[in-house]
Symmetry: C2
Subunit: 333 residues, 2 copies
DNA sequence: GCGGCGGTTGTAAGCGCTTACACATCTAAG
DNA sequence: CTTAGATGTGTAAGCGCTTACAACCGCCGC
């Protein structure tokens, strides 16, 4: 079943059929209808490979995601895919994991699939090798590389960022102003976005003339138990803690478990702030104050920027979207 | 940059280059190495479209998922993608939503992409129209349709199911045996898997000679608050409840919130059982007893079955994987 | 009556790859 | 020494589509 079958049955040439297929205006209304009718009748579907061969594009975008089972990233993938589809683009999903070698392989795979652009979700972008990779792609192909909440500078690299700095700055500042002075910052990774959050925390301390104490910035796994145990350990070592600011809701839940074990009341004895405003925030008891990072807006902007690039417009290489603080029961600020 | 450039530079014919590309054994070690060296030097990447044109396959599987932002489905997509990749297949992700018209469009899109099979995740499979669609595909193409925890009968339709019946039967039975007699079953949808769970609940009642009371089977949205409010309403109307069995962890969390509001102690006054053993189960306080539905095993089995189909083996059209009850703090059975 | 001009359609040359078949070598058995 | 068979390589015909170019038609103005 190919274009010849259609052309034969419709009594026209394959060129005409192809024109109808591509919405070329140089076809009389009459012929067009006839061809369309035959296509319908035969249930004809154009062969995407042949088409791609000629056009050398497949209207397909590669999505690289470190871990699509992560709640936050799953949402990002979902919204990205959704928005792409509304623009008539498909996506090939590539879950790379955090291993650099795998990322590189995924990148090559997407390139070999002749995707029209690559959207990266959840990469850390502080790893020199990955930077190299992104640079190499951007340089060797004209492929736009879109980073969702990541940052790299480069010819064809475009970033849509959440304003993590001001989000963390905002809550930290409010907590301090409300009288808190032992603020633990618990984070999971040294990603670009992670670095911005950390800066926000530090800036708030500094603007309030509070000392920076290294042990009050602790890294742990993105895991409820690991977060809980980290705080338990710190507490046992005598650390005073009246607030926990985290880089992910799961850590905040860990903090909540710690408070429960120690019979500390939340938010009186200890304030807890989550991040990403995921379902964990409303699942927790009491419900978590959390930062809404506007995943959907981030993804929509990323895709729209990409579409503008395809259309030949100049676009800013960097867009910042501000986050919201969602106040719930784990703070009284 | 194409196969001709490589063949010329290597001083061989394009056929030889193609053979090297495809691992055809009829190439001398010497020539092969020369060709590989030239490819490397030129940074040659075969054009996937041309390849697809010749082979009429792209080693790509379409994944249809109703909502990849759902925790359970995100996991399923993740494992499926992962397993496919380990078999050297790519996936095109299509989030269809629950609208039938969209599902149909997604189906057509995947077909037009010439995917080699379709894996459906999270479809309800009780909707007549969708069945029709699946039947049409299965009949009109030779495309295998793989259902992850869904059930349809048809020529090229293969299902990997979680044994939801025995999972729910098991907990319900244990609860009854431990003395509970007012067991509320809270569920979200009338999917195939949902129907099996319900049957499990009913069977357990019946085997313990307990009456079936319609109002003890309640449907609500997959949403913490909606579940909570549903139970609050029932309770206010005077319903006795000493156990809540749910079809999703989020509903169980809702039940937990109800218990908290009513100062009922868990599990003494009320036992609560979740489903899917998601992160919500360990996020909740107390942690939820939940059913581990073995998503990974389900997905791995689905992909492996597909690979066997591709290799020409006969495979069962239906595989059942048993679920585990993970005992935590919301039950004392 | 003729050239020219839109509008419409057809012809044929790719796009980059796979692969059946043909052909050339070389080996080993008869 | 011949020859069947194994082994390695090349030729060329697709795969189904796009599109530049050519060709045709009817119609206009001169």
């Amino acid at each position: 079943m190919n274009i010849y079958d259609v052309s034969e049955k419709a009594g026209v040439s394959i060129a005409t059929v192809s024109r109808v297929l591509n919405g070329n205006p140089n076809v009389s209304e009459q012929t067009k209808n006839k061809v369309l009718a035959v296509m319908e009748e035969l249930g004809y579907t154009p062969n995407i490979f042949a088409r791609g061969l000629g056009l050398n594009t497949m209207k397909t975008i590669g999505i690289m995601c470190t871990d699509s089972s992560d709640i936050y990233l799953a949402n990002a993938v979902y919204y990205t895919e959704h928005e792409l589809r509304s623009h008539d683009y498909d996506s090939i999903l590539c879950c790379t994991g955090y291993d650099l070698e795998n990322k590189k392989k995924s990148l090559e795979l997407l390139l070999s699939k002749r995707v029209d652009a690559i959207i990266m979700v959840g990469s850390k972008f502080l790893e020199p090798k990955l930077e190299d990779n992104a640079y190499i792609i951007a340089a060797s192909t004209q492929l736009p590389i879109m980073l969702v909440n990541g940052f790299l500078e480069g010819e064809n690299i475009f970033c849509t960022l959440c304003d993590d700095f001001h989000a963390i700055y905002g809550v930290t500042d409010k907590l301090i102003k409300s009288g808190r002075h032992s603020l633990l910052y618990l984070y999971t990774s040294n990603s670009y976005s992670g670095a911005r959050k950390r800066e926000g925390y530090l800036a708030a301390l500094s603007h309030n003339s509070m000392p920076v104490r290294e042990q009050y910035m602790q890294m742990c796994k993105k895991d409820i138990k690991d977060a809980r145990d980290t705080i338990i350990r710190l507490h046992r070592d005598g650390m005073q803690i009246d607030s926990v600011i985290t880089s992910d809701d799961s850590l905040a839940v860990g903090a909540l478990k710690f408070a429960l074990l120690n019979q500390m009341s939340v938010p009186e004895d200890i304030c807890i702030v989550g991040y990403n405003n995921s379902i964990l925030a409303t699942c927790a008891e009491p419900e978590l104050t959390s930062i809404d990072t506007k995943v959907e807006a981030l993804c929509v902007n990323t895709v729209n920027t990409l579409m503008r690039i395809f259309d030949g417009y100049d676009v800013p290489s960097r867009t910042m979207i501000s986050a919201d603080i969602v106040y719930r029961k784990t703070t009284n600020i």
